[in-house]
């Protein structure tokens, strides 16, 4: 662990020193903020909130090619493995919730079976977090799911904005390596820097307006009401679109398809793409049977994955409280409200 400060006026030089990396920095687009690698941006805008599409897309892209296949003249099939390029990347402006989300995805793609494609990108990625001054969304509730606006989980560096400078805390070797690219720009910290950083963190915590109380009681409660018609009522206006899951920083479900480009000679590729439990075909069996036949069972699945199954498997929530699914749901399905009603159901 290493603590330093860097003046905002020196920040562009730091970015420029990262020649050997592909650098992603938040860019304002007409639809919101996007993590962009267009090399023109050399600072984090002061009104930056959070990216609409979370950083997961840079580690677990919506499309991953596994291999290509081609029929050769003697009718054999040739396979060509495709692996993610070797190219180290740095992502600036990762909000603490999104950092924790990457950590949660690490559990899914790691463990006894390591996902080659995920880890190839993940190992080449350095996450530079930015503590929240202001909750980026009015629906932020990280405090309720064991996070905070200055959580370090999953990050390699945490920056805290102190006005004219950043407090820089390097949390991993990868993080320290990033500082060593331009060592002269970083200054030793003073007790005042530390004090200010603590103050900023505490103030931010006080600004979070939304809370989900008693989240640790939810696993038992969800089990108890699993078969109740509670889910029917809660999902009555659900549109079965993919917004809540595709834009969730922790949702990681995927589909694998063979895409045929030509039938004779046979040529194509096998690819992995994002998929979501909210689409009816997600659980469709080839027999025509669908074990999750309606919106009620699909809403229950989304919440139970985050607040029951993940806890049983890894003893942590699979929701980091970023609030995206609440803010973006076209019909106002609000995970905090639904879970609060679930907790009180039958009381």
């Amino acid at each position: 662990m290493m603590e330093k400060t860097i003046l905002k006026s020196s920040f562009p030089q730091w970015i420029k020193s990262l020649q050997s990396f592909k650098v992603f920095i938040p860019k304002r687009e007409n639809f919101g903020w996007e993590l962009s690698s267009n090399n023109q941006i050399l600072e984090i805008a002061s009104d930056y909130t959070y990216p609409v599409v979370p950083p997961k897309k840079l580690i677990f892209p919506q499309e991953e090619i596994f291999f290509e296949f081609e029929q050769n003249p003697d009718n054999g099939i040739e396979l060509k493995e495709v692996l993610p390029e070797e190219s180290p990347q740095v992502i600036f402006g990762v909000r603490p919730c999104d950092g924790r989300a990457v950590e949660a995805m690490d559990l899914v793609f790691g463990g006894s079976f390591e996902d080659l494609y995920y880890w190839r990108r993940r190992r080449q990625t350095t996450l530079v977090g930015l503590a929240c001054h202001q909750p980026p969304s009015e629906n932020c509730f990280c405090l309720s799911v064991e996070g905070s606006p200055y959580s370090e989980d999953g990050l390699d560096i945490l920056l805290t904005d102190l006005g004219d400078r950043y407090f820089v805390k390097a949390l991993t070797e990868k993080g320290e390596k990033l500082l060593s690219e331009a060592p002269s720009l970083f200054k030793e910290i003073t007790p005042k820097d530390r004090e200010e950083k603590e103050r900023v963190h505490l103030e931010a915590q006080g600004k979070i307006k939304r809370h989900l109380n008693g989240a640790r009681e939810l696993p038992e409660k969800i089990k108890a009401i699993f078969d109740s018609n509670f889910w029917d009522e809660e999902s009555s206006n659900c549109l079965r679109c993919g917004i809540c899951t595709y834009l969730c920083p922790t949702c990681h479900c995927f589909d694998i398809n063979d895409e045929t480009k030509s039938l004779a000679p046979l040529r194509g590729r096998r690819i992995r793409t994002w998929d979501t439990c909210q689409f009816p075909d997600f659980t469709m069996h080839s027999s025509g049977h669908n074990p999750r036949p309606d919106r009620a069972s699909r809403l229950r699945q989304r919440l139970a994955h985050k607040f029951l199954y993940f806890i049983l498997l890894y003893d942590r929530f699979q929701c980091v409280g970023c609030g995206r699914c609440i803010s973006l749901c076209p019909v106002g399905i609000d995970i905090i409200e639904v879970l609060t009603r679930a907790r009180n159901h039958g009381k």
């Binding site: 639809f31 919101g32 009522e233 917004i243 398809n257 469709m284 025509g288 973006l328 019909v331 106002g332």
Partner: protein, 343 residues
């Protein structure tokens, strides 16, 4: 002015007499001012209902769910579903009737007049308030909205924050309904195609690169399709697996299924999805604006559909959703159609 009390009264009557199976209107989200579609099943629940300028959702789309539910049940309750509809929404009911997707007595319609206003666009409201957070958004008097901010009341001229489609709306009064609330006030929509005029000035290759740029960020979350009152197909060419597969579908049939669009979100597939959708909506889209509203990456879908609407009007004199007895545009031809290849 539409009276909320009268709305509640009408809904209560319809529910307690057993005339409707359930009723769909709008309710507030939590303690905020934004609203969401609300399913009202008991007469005593009508107090949840609200009617505000944030009621932009087109509830007609929920009739698809009801139709599917009926198809699944052995002895379905076939009473009509009650809906609150605005002018634009009412036109989408007419299209469903035209296409015989529903029958007139499948739906009990409480129409509301938009009078001199309509519904708001949240982005415009936020820009107008410049960082201030609204506590309430209400209809004002004579073509204004009333916004409560920090316990102060701000009056905003409707055109400043109206949804784009309302600015160009040819039906601010329901065209089909069982009960209508509010006054029928004629409003001149001005140039109905104002929003596409800049686009129409672009050269073809400019348009192509414009759409390439827009569609390259599509996530294929299909929210635009899910929210659309006209997108009711059980099997959509855009799905990589056709989930209209049933227990009776044979393995052979499944193996033969053509996959038109791959699941990858590459530009070619995204464009294919959107262009197929646009063509399938020509002469059917009523410009309720829902697809554009829900898109999380703000792809300007209205532009595409509005252009198709204009083409239908200019080429075939076809207006969408005013007459439930009119034959559907893409399912009919007339002697005076400009092309002669079909005759």
């Amino acid at each position: 002015m539409v009276s909320l009390d009268q709305l509640k009264e009408e809904v209560k009557k319809a529910l307690s007499s057993g005339k409707v199976k359930y009723f769909i209107g709008y309710e507030n989200i939590g303690s905020g001012w934004q609203v969401r579609p609300a399913f009202i099943r008991q007469p005593e629940d009508v107090d949840r209902l609200v009617w505000t300028p944030a009621c932009f959702h087109n509830l007609v789309r929920f009739l698809h769910d009801e139709k599917r539910r009926r198809a699944r049940e052995k002895n379905p309750d076939i009473r009509p579903v009650g809906l609150v509809v605005k002018g634009c929404d009412s036109r989408s009911i007419n299209v469903l009737l035209q296409e015989k997707y529903i029958e007139r007595n499948d739906v009990y319609i409480i129409g509301v007049s938009c009078e001199l206003t309509g519904v708001i666009n949240i982005t415009k409201l936020n820009q107008h308030l410049n960082g201030l957070k609204p506590q309430k958004v209400l209809f004002g008097s004579k073509g204004t909205f009333k916004v409560i901010v920090d316990d102060r009341e701000i009056e905003i001229e409707a055109p400043d924050i109206l949804a784009d489609r309302c600015l160009e709306c040819p039906a601010n009064f329901p065209v089909i309904a069982d009960v209508i609330l509010g006054e029928e006030i004629k409003r001149n929509p001005g140039n109905r195609y104002q929003s596409i005029s800049a686009y129409e000035k672009m050269a073809l290759d400019e348009r192509w690169s414009f759409w390439q740029q827009q569609f390259s960020r599509c996530l294929r979350c299909y929210a635009c399709r899910s929210v659309c009152p006209m997108c009711y197909c059980d099997e959509c060419v855009a799905d990589s697996i056709a989930y209209a597969v049933t227990a009776e579908t044979t393995a052979d049939e499944k193996a033969q299924k053509t996959r038109w669009v791959e699941r990858n979100p590459e530009l070619s597939e995204n464009i294919f999805y959107h262009l197929v959708r646009a063509i399938h909506l020509a002469g059917r889209c009523v410009d309720c604006g829902e697809c554009e509203r829900v898109c999380p990456v703000e792809i300007p879908l209205r532009l595409l559909n509005k252009k198709m609407e204009k083409e239908a009007k200019e080429l075939f004199g076809y207006e969408v959703g005013f007459d439930p007895a009119q034959p559907p545009l893409i399912a009919c031809f007339r002697d005076n159609d400009p092309q002669d290849f079909i005759r």
